[in-house]
């Protein structure tokens, strides 16, 4: 185990990634030699502080998921350092660990997957799925194991008796809760959330996001939140890193990054999101062309082929990720000179776009307890907040939910 101390990684940094690379070979030609590399991740640097959420965003194929998995060595990284601040062992270099050493560190870093269907073994009961990490690491057995599984199920908003059921009996949102319970089983410090809500229906997405936030508070978790939906990332992250074709192009605090982007790609991404506001229709900065292939990335700045501000130097020279403002890194030659447009702050949006909070409260009190326990209304999907008990709103007619106009 490497215990090389690092000046850059102070104690409050839980994970530091230096120059991480993951290349996948391409074979071809007469003899199926390796003729090239898909540079899925091509030298990225970032750190995550204890207790924070780092959002990792980018379009499909930019390498964000690969990066997340390489950190856990689910993909063997090609190059680079992954320094994890293990609570017992201090700073360890994940990439150097042997199988046995890795096994000792792994309980502290877990993962939640995107696909709620393929991430649960259909042949195991939910109880066995959640217990598996505990069994592998011999943490608990027998009665203690059962109790722990029941506890975990309760924590994620399911019921202990669900342990004896099989995954097929659960909806997408509930399955995602099971996946989260499994990740929590070993009391990890870091959880890598690999697009945990992108396969879910919009109404269920909010439930899972809220659960993740609650759990973070409750268990002092640190998240690496990989996603492509910028609104979701903004909602959940303390800091955000933006990836483009295997590189990190920008990283900053969430507010700073969204309101004051320093890289043209970030600006384009933010501008491209269709805003749920019909009175504020806008024409996004239309990026020409497509994302370049990571098998054949462009020279110089990777974004120059589509960048509206590109100049000659961008074609030849690859800009490094540098700290352009305190705590704000960007990989652009012209960050200082460009004035890029971010997202307008909330208070810049007309007030009446937000629904009235009072109405919400009233609506909440409107739902009674006598609600039918229809089979489809799976228990545990009811959000992590206990339902408000109150008078049954029989008299509720149109008046209660009219927002201010």
């Amino acid at each position: 185990m490497t215990t090389e101390s690092s000046a850059v990684a102070p104690d409050d940094v839980l994970l530091e990634v230096r120059n991480l690379k993951k290349h996948f070979p391409i074979t071809g030609g007469l003899l199926r030699r390796v003729v090239g590399q898909v540079k899925a991740v091509d030298g990225i640097n970032f750190f995550i502080k204890k207790g924070e959420t780092l959002g990792l965003v980018g379009e499909s194929g930019c390498g964000k998921s690969t990066a997340g998995r390489a950190i856990l060595r689910l993909h063997e990284p090609t190059d680079g350092e992954i320094i994890f601040n293990d609570p017992k062992r201090g700073q360890v270099h994940i990439e150097d660990l042997s199988f046995g050493e890795l096994k000792a560190v792994r309980p502290n870093m877990q993962i939640v997957f995107q696909d709620p269907f393929s991430s649960l073994d259909p042949r195991m009961t939910v109880g066995r799925i959640i217990a598996e990490p505990l069994v592998i690491n011999k943490v608990a057995s027998g009665r203690a194991l059962r109790d722990r599984v029941a506890e975990l199920l309760t924590v994620v908003g399911l019921r202990p008796e669900h342990a004896s059921r099989y995954p097929h009996a659960f909806s997408g949102g509930q399955r995602q809760r099971i996946g989260i319970a499994r990740a929590l089983a070993l009391n990890p410090k870091l959880i890598i959330c690999d697009e945990p809500v992108s396969a879910l229906d919009v109404s269920v997405q909010a439930q899972v996001l809220n659960l993740l936030e609650d759990l973070q508070e409750q268990f002092d978790l640190t998240y690496l939140f990989v996603a492509h939906d910028l609104s979701v990332v903004e909602h959940i992250s303390d800091r955000v890193a933006v990836m483009y074709v295997g590189y990190l192009v920008e990283m900053a605090d969430t507010e700073e990054l969204y309101h004051n982007p320093q890289h043209p790609y970030t600006e384009a991404l933010l501008g491209a999101i269709p805003k749920p506001d019909p009175r504020n229709r806008h024409r996004p900065t239309r990026l020409p062309g497509d994302v370049p292939s990571p098998a054949n990335p462009p020279t110089g700045c990777l974004f120059h082929t589509r960048c509206p501000y590109a100049q000659d130097v961008c074609v030849t020279e690859r800009p490094p990720l540098r700290e352009v403002l305190p705590g704000h890194w960007a990989a652009c030659h012209f960050s200082e000179t460009l004035r890029l447009k971010g997202v307008p702050r909330l208070n810049e949006i007309p007030v009446d776009t937000m629904p009235d909070a009072n109405a919400v409260a009233q609506m909440q009190s409107g739902h009674g307890q006598s609600q039918s326990n229809a089979t489809h209304n799976g228990p545990g999907d009811g959000g992590s907040r206990p339902p408000t008990t109150g008078s049954t709103g029989t008299g509720g007619t149109g008046i209660t939910i009219r927002p201010k106009s």
């Binding site: 393929s118 598996e132 059921r165 009996a169």
Partner: protein
Amino acid sequence: MASTAGVAQDLRQAAKDKKKDVGQMSQWQLMARRFMQNKLSVLGLLILLGLYVLAAFSGFLAPYQFNELDSNNVFTSPTGISFAGGRPSVCGQSQVLNEELLEYEYVEDCSKRYPIQFFVRGFEYKLLGLFPTNWHLFGVSQAGAPVDEATGKPQEIKLFLFGADNQGRDMLAQILQGARVSLTVGLIGVGIATILGSVLGTASGYFGGFIDNVMQRTIELISSIPQIPLWAALAAALPREMSVVRRYILITVVLSLVAWTGLARQVRGKVMGYRSLDYANATRAAGGSHTRIILTHMLPNAVSHIVVVAALAIPGAILAETALSFLGLGMLRPAVSWGVLLRDAQSVQVVMDYPWLMIPAVLVIITLTCYQFLGDGLRDAVDPYS
């Protein structure tokens, strides 16, 4: 999405049954449920089970020994049974030489009827290969049989349900005895192939790389030789003089040597698919070893597919044994299998004159069709959308 729809169907079905909480049903139970919904497959399974039971009790069901020669009954056609008097009985018959054609013909003598008796004593055999006994399901009462002029002994009145062959052997006895070989040789051959194919396929699919490459090339190589000629060449390599049991074992081995490649290929594909699924990754992230992943995730998930592929491979193996025996390269007399029996029915003349010799072929067709129904039903049950 497809799998969701499938599950929704199951849930719905269960809601109808209201017997058990589907949420607590394992995949196997769900598959069994889906399988039972396929009437044709269930029918196939029942018929097959019936055939195996018949084969297992061949000694009890056959009134005569399968290798008992009887020159008095060469090519006897199936005996007619009459129910006159409320009891099943048969007529006596005598062999007459047709001097024009120089062939034996049979003349029925129904002046006296010989009742069929049930649970009679006959030749000695071992029930299920274990318990020596001489009880048989049925036999013909010999009371009052005419005396044979040539030998001076009473003529034996015989009941040939399926007729007799060119040496006067009872076809029913032979078919039942042959079923033992024909129904099991493919099954065991595929069984061996399945074990071989699963182990190699899993290793190949899970570890990939060099192992996979060698395996893939080997499989390609073996499947570049046409099957039947390869089978034939392998079978021909077996020495002709060996005991029935040894030949049986070796033929099984020959069948499995060719059949394992297809299985290994399929298992490999499945395992490769499962390996990339995230539940395997979750186990790795929790520190699980390869052995654990293979044993707790890969194999249990692949097993159902292995069963399906194996079930679909059995008809081919049975057909191969029949064909080899038919060609004189598989089982040989004194062993009896359906293919060996059909060897006697190679020419049009025989088929036209003695159609009952084709009864084994009918059984081959029934068996193979049932196995196909079974395999199809299993496949649909395991994977309703592929």
